[in-house]
């Protein structure tokens, strides 16, 4: 192939890739067409990668092929993780994406340094700063999700001030580099400060805020790729980065709304901090508890049951036992649905994936806005490992830190049953008035064991043979 036509051919594959990316996301609108979306995405990416290998600028192959093989060797196990590990895998992939964008920016800089034009220096600087902070921030998030690092928020006085000072330092270094490109020794300092800022950004954030953080990091990773496209004048990177950035941004906004946080609150990394206040007011109040036998009896007498899963279900790996319960109840003519709060779990859509893995049909997984109207006609709301998203104080108690947060209206069901390890407060440290209502029964125990016991009771005792 001669130079120019080859280059044009490659550019056409990039245009094809951009179209494929948009179709892939468009077809993700429904589970029916989603598989087709993944296929077109795979084809588009594959064609672009193969075409790039024929780029006349590429003059050595051996090491590139080795790097591709290593990448595939890392990617396959990361693609095969269990569904419960998907949040940390996702955080790790944000880290990898941001790492590669940052490294390419750094390489571009050193190829051109010290004669980098002002405008390009600004682009590279911004790109490398966002890529670097997303890299370390995502690693911290992955560490928290994998529970290598503590999930609780780690905070100290004046934290926001210190963090913002560090960010300002990174930007000041970038501006200095734009004005004085000859100070090349400042570049590694800028990268280092950005890496530190990424750590400071995510360390203060607690586990329950992870859905927002992971979406925000997704958005940052996307925008760093788009900025890299600006640096390299590569339109396909601009398109892919813009799509990824937009997707992360939309998810962040949805997560914010579901937690009643403002968007600026999230952008400036202020998560996890409103939670500190609300532990004081706690008196011992009586709750009613029940055994698996009693719970089984109530469930088998119901016509309509709504199950509310939360992070506790994921931790206890209870989803398969929940499926057995679902199977038994539906087989006996009881209408069973699942109520999914947008921030249930550790990432957007986390509960849906776990329940789909356990073979629960997706048309039974109902979004908060659609299920809330059904609670008044519900006989039993069974809450498994969810807490704050069911707290009626969010609706009624203006002094509650979560006041205004949209919740699942489980308290409107005729009977509420809550599977919970103990009376310890939820992540937000807020007492849940739901537990003291007359219609509420507390089922104390591990979610998996308790649901298992209920299923055993149903199939052996009161059942119709099974």
């Amino acid at each position: 192939m001669t130079g120019i036509p080859a280059q044009q051919l490659i550019d056409f594959t990039y245009i094809f890739a951009a179209i494929g990316f948009i179709l892939a996301l468009k077809w993700l609108s429904s589970p029916v067409s989603a598989m087709r979306g993944v296929l077109i995405g795979e084809i588009a990416s594959g064609v672009a990668v193969i075409a790039t290998l024929f780029d006349p600028q590429v003059i050595q192959y051996k090491w590139i092929l080795i790097a591709l093989i290593i990448g595939a060797g890392v990617g396959v196990p990361l693609g095969m993780v269990k569904m419960t590990a998907v949040p940390q895998r996702t955080a790790l992939s944000h880290a990898f994406g941001a790492l590669s964008a940052a490294l390419i920016g750094i390489a571009e800089y050193y190829v051109a340094a010290p004669n980098v034009p002002k405008f390009e220096m600004g682009e590279i600087g911004l790109e490398v700063i966002i890529g670097s902070l997303t890299f370390t921030g995502s690693l911290i998030a992955a560490g928290k999700l994998q529970e290598i690092l503590p999930q609780r928020p780690i905070t100290y006085r004046g934290q926001n001030f210190v963090s913002l000072t560090v960010l300002a330092a990174a930007i000041a270094l970038m501006v200095t580099l734009v004005l004085h490109p000859e100070y090349t020794q400042l570049f590694p300092a800028m990268v280092g400060v950005a890496l530190v800022f990424g750590i400071m950004l995510v360390t203060p954030i607690g586990g329950a805020d992870m859905p927002t953080v992971i979406s925000l990091l997704n958005s940052y990773a996307g925008f760093s790729a788009a900025l890299l496209g600006f640096v390299l004048n590569s339109k396909v990177l601009v398109v892919a980065g813009a799509l990824d950035g937009a997707s992360g941004f939309i998810l962040s906004v949805i997560m914010c709304k579901a937690m009643n946080r403002s968007f600026t609150n999230v952008l400036f990394g202020g998560f996890g901090q409103i939670h500190v206040s609300a532990t004081g007011v706690k008196e011992e109040r009586a709750v009613r508890s029940a055994t698996p036998e009693e719970a089984a009896a109530i469930l088998s007498a119901a016509n309509k049951v709504v199950i509310v899963p939360g992070y506790g279900m994921a931790v206890a790996q209870a989803q398969h036992k929940v499926r057995e319960l679902y199977d038994y109840l539906t087989k006996h003519g009881i209408d069973v649905k699942f109520a999914i709060h947008p921030v249930a779990g550790r990432m957007p859509g986390h509960m849906n994936v776990l329940l789909a893995e356990a073979d629960i049909p997706y048309d039974k997984l109902i979004d908060m806005d659609d299920i809330n109207g059904e609670f008044p006609q519900t006989d039993v709301a069974l809450i498994i490992g969810a807490n704050d998203v069911t707290n009626p104080a969010a609706r009624t108690d203006q002094s509650s830190p979560i006041f205004g947060m949209p919740i699942l209206d489980v308290d409107k069901a005729r009977t509420v049953m809550v599977i919970k390890r103990s009376m310890a407060a939820g992540f937000a440290g807020i007492d849940n008035p739901l537990y003291y209502m007359d219609k509420t029964l507390m089922l104390f125990g591990d979610a998996k064991n308790f649901v298992g016991s209920i299923v055993r009771e149903l199939t052996s005792g009161g059942g119709h043979g099974g």
């Binding site: 990668v49 050595q60 490294l103 949805i254 859509g349």
Partner: protein, 98 residues
Amino acid sequence: MPADFISSLFVFILAAFLGFEVIKRVSPLLHTPLMSLTNALDAIVVVAAIIIAGRHESRLSVILGLIAVAASFSNMVGGFLITDRMLHMFKSGKAKKQ
């Protein structure tokens, strides 16, 4: 302001706008696969990494480029793989009944 910047900005704004319109319609049911799919699509930065590594301009640029090739290609492979696995799990009630 370089002309390249203006044309990139043009593409960026259109793509981001289109992204908002398309992604808004993705069912909340599929938000986890959405994230893993966009991650895999974003891994197209591997093409830039291949060029940087393949141009052989300096030892540093080759090394950084190769790490970037491995990191982004692992995202491409892993991202598509897990999205595919997740979507296979989503079955409707009718399809499930035997």
